[in-house]
Amino acid sequence: MSETTTAKGLADPAARRQLMSGVEPEPGSSKPDPILKVDNIVRQFGGITAVDVDHLEVQRGIITALIGPNGAGKTTFFNLITGFDRPTSAGRGAHWSFDGATLDRTSASKVAKSGMVRTFQLTKALSRMTVMDNMMLGAQNQAGENLAKCLIKPFWSAQEKQVEEKALALLDRFSLLEKRKDYAGSLSGGQRKLLEMARALMSDPKMIMLDEPMAGVNPALTQSLLGHIQSLRDEGTTVLFVEHDMHVVRHISDWVVVMAEGKLVAEGPADSVMSNTAVIDAYLGAHHDTDLGDDALLSDATLEQLEAEVAAEEAEREEEQRS
């Protein structure tokens, strides 16, 4: 099966389910056709290990969600693989590659050029520029951005026209066409999210990485954003996104990767991974089932049991410290 047919075929949910059915729902499992492979990335801030990922593969052509509680290191992980941050383990076994090309020492701008474009959790609209100018900046390899050529218009006017048409088409698709002459700073939060996504698409990325695309977006816009993300997938773009909202994740993602305290704790299809004990523990804590308002729990037997558990945990911790 060639690449293009893979991408086209994946618009069908059954095909996606079948593709991923052979994959073990284990953290770090190998995928049939990974576009992104990450090995041994560690990032420490002083004594705190924010990210410690042994191995992760992201399947080409589907929507992968990266979830986890607050402080799990999802955004830091994004920053690391897109070149906005350097792993502490750089040069000591850290290795990641995108679409066959190694990215260990690549700068953020080169990562974007290679086809992996990201958006930001706090949207970075270029406020004092028009929406249209924001879009035009997203296009790659513009001759007019070369200082030697920019003064002579014939060198770039044809390309500029193409870029403009593409920008208008994308703005239309993201229903921002009427706003094209407004400053990006005057857009609402949700519109900025749309603009950022549209701008990222100007470069025809192979993979788009969305950092909390739904944060601060009203429910009506969420629906249309979800539609856009799904249609991207259907057109063959790989999507990796960070999200908190479980409904969103369950609704659109084909594969879910769960992070907690910097580590990968689970992987799997959206419907089954939510019931994974490791995931529930990560989100709700190991004692989430315990109802503190239940009088039956106040019996001596339960108290003894809880005390024993606490003692066991303490002993464990002491042992760890000793070693």
């Binding site: 897109t82 070149g83 906005f84 700068s107 953020a108 701008s109 080169k110 974007a112 050029k113 474009v117 990201r118 958006t119 930001f120 970075k124 609209a125 270029l126 406020s127 004092r128 520029m129 100018d133 035009m136 900046l137 997203g138 790659q140 513009q142 001759a143 007019g144 951005e145 070369n146 200082l147 920019c150 003064l151 218009k153 770039w156 500029e160 400053y183 700073g185 005057s186 701008r199 990222a200 100007m202 470069s203």
Partner: protein, 398 residues
């Protein structure tokens, strides 16, 4: 009335002064740094000083004029590289710190007499006298010797220069400027080429009327003569055309993108360091050209191109409007002409026995600077976008 005419004449002389044009060119360069790219360069005077040194020393060494200009530009180019490589990868504040200290280093090296091999070239604090390097430039002048008055036909020729004629003339000037402002703000129903034509026509009318009401008489070729004035303002025009071309191109768009958010630009695959470096170099080259023009009618004195010139340049830029094409020129004109106006008023009315005599000659100049300072503060508080800036840009936080 003669007092007022005297002040007006002094203002017009400053308005056509080649040094005003020279600072305007340096401000155009600073506008590329600060206005378009968001680089906080507090050392524009160093680019000017280096350009001036490179130019003047080359000529005193007997090199031809074009080579001297290239040397001046090359020195500024190297200076921009040296400043940019360590700082442009860091946050913007570091460039500000490094440029202001580098400018002081250049000035102190220029004025120090410690090394004989160096002070033989720069002549230390005394500087290089203009007569040592001016000749190749004055020799190029196509103008005949003598003196020319602009306009030859002026208010003195109409009704013997009566007050009524002059008042009428100034009324027309004010009306023309007011109309131009209305058209500029799109409050008059003119669009497209009609609008441009109306603006050009009104500007030309104002310029001609100003020369009619306050004629300027200068030698044709001598120091500060018409030859210097014409070349300086032609250079301003060329700089404006270049900046217009640069900022309307995709490269100029990338500059603004870097100003707004560097990380966003990185995420779009742009090489932010290269863009910032190119902007620093281009703006610095404009600074060097301004510096050469600045010293041509004067002398290369390191202390004359110190911090205060940088701050004048920033004042002019903020006054005219950062990130606008015409802002630097308008700002420089208003700043220098306004200062002469304040000094003139203070000299005439606050320092003479005819009116009030409350300050001496030195104090009037300081008084003018105090007023300029207060005006700048008011400007930044009440109209931070400058005269030509777009108010829409201020509606959201930067």
């Amino acid at each position: 009335m003669d007092d007022i005419q005297g002040i007006l004449n002094a203002m017009m002389r400053t308005a056509v002064d080649p040094q005003t044009a020279a600072v305007a060119i340096a401000v155009i360069g600073l506008n590329i740094h600060f206005g378009y790219t968001g680089l906080i360069n507090i050392g524009q005077s160093a680019f000017m000083l280096l350009g001036a040194y490179g130019f003047a020393i080359s000529i005193t060494q007997g090199w031809p004029l074009p080579v001297a200009i290239l040397v001046g530009l090359a020195v500024a180019f190297v200076f921009a590289l040296v400043l940019g490589v360590p700082t442009l990868k860091l946050r913007g504040d570091y460039l500000a710190i490094v440029t202001i200290s580098a400018a002081e280093i250049i000035r102190y090296v220029g004025r120090s007499g410690g090394y004989e091999s160096l002070s033989n070239l720069t002549n230390a604090a005394q500087g290089i006298a203009g007569s040592q390097y001016r000749t190749p430039f004055t020799d190029l002048s196509p103008f005949p010797t003598g003196t020319t008055q602009l306009l030859p036909f002026n208010y003195l020729d109409v009704a013997g220069g009566s007050t009524v004629v002059r008042l009428l003339g100034w009324l027309v000037v004010v009306a023309a400027i007011w109309t131009a402002v209305r058209i500029g703000r799109r409050k008059v129903g003119l669009e497209g080429s009609t609008r441009t034509l109306a603006m050009v026509g009104l500007t030309a009318l104002v310029v001609v009327l100003l020369f009619f009401l306050a004629p300027v008489s200068q030698r044709n070729t001598g120091v500060n003569g018409w030859w210097f004035t014409v070349v300086a303002w032609i250079l301003v025009g060329i700089s404006l055309i270049i900046v217009l071309g640069l900022t309307r191109s995709p490269w100029g768009r990338a500059l603004k993108g870097v100003r707004e958010d560097e990380d966003a630009m990185r995420s779009l695959g742009k090489n932010v360091f290269a863009i910032k470096m190119q902007a620093l170099i281009i703006g610095g080259l404009f600074g060097a050209i301004g510096g050469m023009m600045y010293v041509l009618p004067a002398a290369v004195q390191p202390d004359a191109l110190g911090r205060s010139i940088t701050f004048f340049a920033y004042t002019a830029l903020l006054l005219g409007g950062a990130a606008t094409i015409w802002g630097p020129v308008l700002g420089s004109l208003i700043f220098f002409v306004g200062r002469v106006f304040l000094i003139g008023v203070a000299n005439t009315y606050l320092s003479s026995d005819d009116y009030l005599n409350i300050m001496n000659g030195q104090q009037t100049s300081q008084f003018a600077f105090i007023i300029v300072g207060v005006a700048l503060m008011l400007l930044v508080i009440f109209r931070p976008q400058g005269i030509l800036g777009d108010k829409r840009e201020l509606r959201f936080n930067v």
